[in-house]
Amino acid sequence: MVFLTSPAWIRAAKPDKFWRRRRTFRLSAHYFGRARNCYKTAIIRVEKALSYALVGRQQKKKDMVQLWEQRLEAGCAEHGTSLPVLRQGLMRCNVLLNRKTLADLAIWEPRTFKVRGSQLAME
């Protein structure tokens, strides 16, 4: 006799959850306490960490821009101008330097930055 119905009731084997959980544990290896070893605790902390990482990546860009602008303001104030004046002057001279490069110039090449600032004050 051939029984065809009973094999149809057998579910296909699910993949071993060890590997899925291991992906989480690799990220939680340096956590404190149960968050390191127990999956239900670890997954909560790891998801939080990943969302922090996402926000942090976006925030880091904003923070860097703020830092450069602060440094440029300070550099301009030293030479008696301000950042909007510097920006306008650079645009009129068709100098397309971004804030990062300008801030680096102000720190590492102060004389170039001074020349820029005085040129633009004249403009």
Binding site: R26, L27, L50, P110
Partner: protein, 187 residues
């Protein structure tokens, strides 16, 4: 993915320009091949040893090749570099050709560990004109200043404060009053 976990090192950009401009010295020092004589995972390694290892050793006189047959273990190749770095390359189920390819990669490698680059640029001389200091744009005559000094140390121009504005308004009011009193007094 986040980089803050423990498994990937981080380093700065390096250009190994000291090797290759005058004379090139291969950085791979020795390879130690551990394999099993019987298991199927080591078949590629065994074929490599049968066919290619002698040629490889002859072509690379600067690399020492050690062979260690160890039973019932997964096969791997331990690569040791001149800067002291050790890398273990798993040869499990690699074909003979694949193993040769990996060894060629190792042969040309500098031994620096695979690491995340913290910055994409590096320079030994970041400043040509001199780094900015608080005294970069200060005239050197300040060294010879005697205090009290009025010229260089006046307070910066600023807007009138509200109190000053009120005082000015009040003073003007008083003047106006006086003028009107005078005119009414005289008239």
């Amino acid at each position: 993915m986040s980089f803050k976990h423990l498994f990937m090192k981080s380093s700065f950009v390096k250009a190994p320009i000291q090797n290759g401009i005058g004379r090139y010295v291969g950085q791979l020092q020795r390879i130690t091949v551990k394999f099993c004589k019987e298991h199927s995972d080591s078949k590629g390694v065994r074929d490599f040893i049968e066919n290619q290892v002698v040629d490889f050793a002859k072509q690379n006189p600067g690399i020492v090749v050690y062979l260690k047959p160890r039973r019932h273990r997964a096969p791997h190749v331990k690569l040791e570099y001149l800067n002291g770095e050790t890398e273990i390359l798993s040869a499990k189920c690699l074909s003979e050709r694949e193993l040769r390819q990996w060894l060629e990669v190792a042969r040309g490698s500098s031994g620096e560990p695979v690491a995340r680059l913290r910055k994409m640029q590096h320079t030994d001389r970041p400043s040509i004109q001199g780094v900015w200091t608080p005294w970069t744009n200060v005239p050197p005559q300040t060294n010879l200043e005697t205090f009290p000094s009025e010229e260089g140390y006046r307070a910066p121009q600023r807007e009138q404060t509200a109190t000053e504005k009120l005082r000015e308004l009040f003073a003007r009011q008083q003047e106006q009053k006086q003028l009107t009193e005078e005119t009414t007094g005289t008239s």
